[in-house]
């Protein structure tokens, strides 16, 4: 019907191809076309951060990108964090510090935090708070999240 094109991306190390109208948001491409529903959608205008994924190594809002723009890109989503059955260290720390309740913000939190810590490994707690303000959490009140990210950044054991 409309002008769709084929989009090929590498997601969590795997080459995936899907059809996309130019207007298809990357968030919907990941969720609906590729079935990767770990990436959540909370606002579709860049505010909440639930849809954050990594594109070519950097965290971005997948609701503010079109799938066609990601042609050829390397994408990382929450589904790719664990190593087999073993949770990623940040995932373990989120559990340890009670950094999630309903879990809706969690994928965005994890993807944002990983990029943030890589971007600025030596953050103070205030900087972590400021950086993690990129993602909205309605449940936890952020304390657990800040503690988990701080411990992750400091290299502590989960």
């Amino acid at each position: 019907m409309s002008d769709t094109r084929s989009v090929t991306v590498t997601v969590n190390g795997e080459r995936r191809t899907g059809e996309a109208e130019p207007r298809l948001l990357l968030s919907d491409f990941l969720r609906e076309t590729l079935g990767l529903t770990g990436t959540h959608v909370g606002c579709e205008h860049g505010i909440c951060g639930a849809c954050t994924v990594h594109v070519d190594g950097e965290a971005v809002r997948s609701c503010l990108m079109f799938a066609v723009q990601a042609e050829g890109a390397e994408i990382a989503t929450v589904e790719g964090l664990a190593d087999g059955e073993t949770l990623h260290r940040l995932q373990q720390l989120f559990s340890k510090h009670r950094a999630l309740q309903c879990g809706f913000c969690t994928p965005g939190m994890l993807m944002t935090a990983l990029d943030l810590v890589r971007h600025r490994p030596d953050m103070t707690e205030a900087e972590i708070r400021s950086g993690m303000a990129a993602v909205l959490c309605r449940c936890t009140g952020y304390e657990g999240i800040v503690h988990a990210v701080a411990e992750y950044a400091s290299g502590g054991e989960a």
């Binding site: 948001l25 205008h45 971005v60 990108m65 723009q69 990129a134």
Partner: protein, 290 residues
Amino acid sequence: MKPPRFDYHAPESLEEALDLLADSGPDARILAGGQSLVPVLNFRLARPGVLIDINRVTGIAGIGDAGDRLTIGAMTRQREIEVSETVARAAPLLHEATGHVAHLPIRSRGTIGGSMANADPAAEDPAVAAALEATMVCRSRRGERRIAAAGFFVDVLTTALEPDEMLVAVEIPKIPAGAGAAFAEISRRDGDFALAGVAAQIALANGRVSDARISACGLGPAPVRFREAEEILLDGACEPAAIAAAAASVAAACDPHGDVHASAAYRRQLAEAMTRRALASARERAGGSA
């Protein structure tokens, strides 16, 4: 909240992009970082028939040193500007201001050109451009046009760009020796658009202010330099009394609006406080003692 249909083009050369822009007429929109455009598409508040995605256009991104100024390609991501040592050294005002733009994942995509072209009254980049008298390098099939910041920002979300013109680079004069710059801002939460932000750059010669630049975001329809406040500082020592007088002058001269986030009166109060903070830091960074 799904965008309406549009024709999509992703040219790889500037010429191709400018041709598309010229041929598509006013129904076309340039897609840069998409951090302002895609939200309004998702809300269906904008419905351009044609999107010209310039993310794959070569030669319009990157930070270049051009002697007394930096030439920053329009498609340079705000994240790249934030981490650039060149920018931190030669344009510390832009560097500090960029840290206030949204959040890291948004700066990963957002571009300096997009921010200038978008001309949001609360955006930091236009305020910096106004303060530093940046030059906007614009191109169309008709040729190049260089527009001074003062003439570029016309009104709320309105610039001097013609429909067939693209901003290709922003030239930012380097900070002179002996000068200090600071950007002070208040927002509801870190990363939100500013309720009020003030950009200041002060040059000192023999302890006297030889050049002063003050502009603001969130305090009027388009960024302007606050000449009267700058005059107050010139030739003085930028001492607390002068800073207070300059801050009062900015508060009186600015033209804030009230909305759900803050009343105009509150913004005016912030204008004064932010000016004081920005000037005090700029002066300190210029080497003057507090």
